[in-house]
Symmetry: C2
Subunit: 160 residues, 2 copies
């Protein structure tokens, strides 16, 4: 199947597909320990790269490979929405953040850089300058992410 306005190179090794399958590669930063929730359609994991003042933000992605919003079937989009909402509520309870915002990027001009649809869910804090801070995203260590994953899993468990 060829998608709409796709940009992945021909022999693309998709990092989110590897993560969904539990395959570890040096070149892929995410690990099983980053996953905080998954079902047959979607998964949520602590992002490997963080904004300066929004630690522990989460990526929600489909299990199956779709490059972008244009390609994502409605029933999987519904699962992405539902999981992002659960993550938002869990973040409020676990991180005690002041707000939540989400963003989702398509194509290089839209700031997409991994060629598998993903939605960012950010914990927000007063004065965090999520948009205006031009510092690059920082690659985090696995061990740094683990306490955030543990807190979110506990909060997700408490939601049910």
């Amino acid at each position: 199947v060829t998608g709409m306005f796709n940009h992945a190179p021909r022999e693309y090794v998709c990092p989110f597909c590897l993560v969904a399958k539990g395959i570890i590669r040096e070149s892929v930063h995410s690990r099983d320990s980053d996953i905080v929730a998954r079902n047959s359609a979607a998964m949520a994991l602590i992002a490997s790269h963080w904004r300066p003042r929004n630690p522990g933000h989460v990526i929600v992605a489909p299990i199956a490979h779709y490059e972008n919003l244009y390609d994502l079937p409605d029933e999987i989009g519904a699962a992405i929405f539902s999981l992002s909402r659960r993550i938002a509520i869990a973040m409020k309870n676990a991180y005690r953040c002041d707000g939540i915002s989400t963003r989702q990027h398509n194509e290089p001009a839209g700031y997409q850089d991994v060629w598998h649809y993903h939605l960012h869910v950010f914990p927000r804090f007063a004065g965090d300058e999520l948009y205006l801070d031009d510092n690059p995203n920082r690659l985090t260590r696995v061990e740094e992410r683990e306490p955030y994953a543990a807190e979110l899993r506990a909060a997700l468990g408490a939601e049910q």
Copy 2:
């Protein structure tokens, strides 16, 4: 029904509820002519305030009043996703933009400023600096928005 982490003042007159009902008020910038699609669950309209280099961006919102992501039922979230995807594809065809990105804000610290859930769908252009440009959003004139609405309606019609 009281929502989660709501911030609307007690006697809030909700602009998106007025738009959904077709009621015109001086204080509300959006008009019927901004609406490009609607169904029983959700509506899409040209935003009244634009970023400097992303003209004609669209707001997707539920018809019923829910303040934020935490409160939005999954079935309405599914309708929001589906409509946002249709809008994204229509924008690609109508605006010939280089990409699409979406964002959604909850609570004041998360940059929410209208107390009715809404998702922004932006046409993206190379070098548009959607995030780093600190110019404020510009209030547009109704007549300025009409050609964008007309183009999107035509593209949405062609999608079906």
